[in-house]
Amino acid sequence: MTTKIAYDDVEVGAELPARSFPVNRAALVRYAGASGDFNPIHWNEKFAKEVGLPDVIAHGMFTMAEAIRVVTDWTGDPGALVDYGVRFTRPVVVPNDDRGAVIEVTGKVAAKLDDNTVRVDLTVTSGGQKVLGMSRAVVRLA
């Protein structure tokens, strides 16, 4: 494990570089194949609407995978992650147009913990609405 961020250099309240992750229908089809989650709510508009959704929605696990990139890009070493948890509070709706949707992620160091670890709280939104709650990661720094 070799992170490029030193524990001693980090202060509570420090903000991680924010990121925007675009997601369109093609990305969801690709993620379905890679993850093995072929639930039609993630690619079939007719099916999604029949079960009461406004449109096709992104896999929650896709959003979870994007959100943690703010942390893994910050440290450089994804293997430094100790804990990662989220609550799926609202779906990311992905319209079938040129733009799709955008997942916006910010992160802030919320606490310095033992063993050179810090807790990062993530804020994850799409279309101005929070899509993940209780989104927290613990990461071990150098």
Binding site: S35, G36, M61, F62, A65, T72, G79, G85, V86
Partner: protein, 156 residues
Amino acid sequence: MALDQSFVGRSYPPTDPYEVGREKIREFAEAVGDDNPVYTDPEAAKALGYADVIAPPTFVFSITFKAAGQVVQDPQLGLDYSRVVHGDQKFAYVRPVRAGDRLTVTSTIEAVKSMAGNDILDIRGEVHDETGEHVVTAWTKLVARAAEPAQTDGEA
């Protein structure tokens, strides 16, 4: 229908090993658009101290969720899977998953609750490698939404 509380604490047999392949990791990393070379380049992985490429943090969910199928499809439990949504997800890592791992998952029902007609199921998946080393634990909360109220305005 409320789920049977006696299922709390029940564990299911370990799954057959899932062999983690370099190309499967690459496929997953590309699908989430993450170009960190530690996922695709063994030399980059070695530079960070890993024997082979490692997997993105959420990769292991595909394996633990498949294992959780033993639970959600257990006819004795009686979960209505057509109404299930993913509530929470959490991982605690001992080390990253890496190419060459042969992973088994042991699933345990941690909690069964009913709230406002919703059935809530907490499943813990313990992931071990072929040497018995603990790699990661995944907690998955599934919520089976309450069924629509039965029609009461019919001729019956």
